[in-house]
């Protein structure tokens, strides 16, 4: 199963990159857009066909290693296509 993990700065955590990008957007004339937050994407393949099993395993990976719960939130998608 293909997994895509999205890691984002927690609400309330200052994201200086997001602030700089927001300023850049404004300077380039892209009006009406704000609240920029920069995160990261982690792709991996989990060797199982069972969605619940995959989900439990990815949650465990995120909580122990892939993210730091003090500063980051995460979501992920599961894709069964080969």
């Amino acid at each position: 199963m293909k997994v895509r993990v999205f890691v984002t700065p927690k609400k309330g955590v200052l994201d200086p990159q997001g602030v700089v990008i927001e300023t850049g957007l404004r300077q380039l004339g892209f009006a009406g857009a704000d609240q920029v937050r920069v995160g990261k994407v982690i792709d991996l393949v989990v060797h199982t066909d069972d969605r619940d099993d995959a989900s439990a395993r990815v949650h465990a990976m995120c909580k122990t290693f892939l993210t730091n719960p003090v500063i980051e939130d995460y979501t992920f998608t599961l894709d069964e296509a080969p």
Partner: protein, 226 residues
């Protein structure tokens, strides 16, 4: 007296730290390789600065799973003294041995210069040779030194008196303007509740002898062994 200095792939202040303890303070040193789990009977352990594992994923995130870290955690749980400097501080945070986490500096710049820090307390061995309120001039060199935690944790950290160093100016003023990197409450160094584990972003090993332009770091290293 023997100090153990943990060496991870990417550590780059390990030899400076060794020099400071061995040549300046005249203390025996053991290098502790990250893949080993034997701490060789040392009396205190330093996690040195650097870029362990290339700072991949997050600073300190990979190093905390090194075999040696389990022994370091056991050593600390038995009351053993552990000092994390810069990347070592980041590793202690990732390992959950100190509260909070590191964010990139508010300025998004790598900051490499001398800074002023104020000694907040003397309740941990590392700061036991200093006076409360004493000002130290110590070099920093980091991109991710912006210490962060949520409001609830910050209240507990302050209530328990865990901050040991705060960024300030030459007069000792601690304010947002003297906050080097955006750390909550200007915190530059922290201890655990028992006081035996301390982490700090400034590099005391880089200013422990006159030849390096300053000696303010020396008392912190001596304190670890006091």
């Amino acid at each position: 007296m023997k100090v153990g200095i943990v060496v991870f792939p990417g550590s780059n202040c390990d030899r400076d730290t060794e020099h400071a303890f061995e040549k300046v303070l005249g203390v025996g040193v053991e290098r502790l390789w990250h893949k080993d789990s034997d701490i060789k009977g040392v009396d205190a352990i330093v996690l040195p600065g650097g870029f362990s594992f290339g700072d991949y994923l997050r600073t300190g995130a990979v190093a905390r799973f090194s075999p040696i870290m389990e022994s370091v955690a056991d050593f600390a749980a038995r009351g053993g003294r552990v000092l994390g400097i810069c990347n070592g501080f980041q590793i202690l945070l990732e390992a959950g041995m100190l509260p909070g986490a590191m964010l990139p500096n508010r300025s998004l710049r790598f900051i490499c210069r001398d800074v002023m820090v104020r000694v907040e307390q003397t309740g941990a061995p590392v700061v036991s040779k200093l006076r409360q309120g004493q000002l130290l001039r110590i070099p920093v060199a980091h991109y991710e030194g912006n210490w962060f935690c949520d409001d609830e944790t910050l209240a507990r950290v302050e209530a328990e008196g865990l901050p040991v160093l705060r960024y300030c100016d030459a007069t000792g003023l601690v304010s947002d303007a003297t906050n080097l990197n955006g750390s909550r409450n200007n915190i530059a160094g922290l201890r655990n509740a028992a006081g035996n584990v301390v982490g700090m972003m400034p590099h005391p090993e880089r200013c422990a002898e006159p030849a390096l332009g300053g000696i303010d770091g020396r008392a912190l290293l001596e304190g670890l062994l006091s």
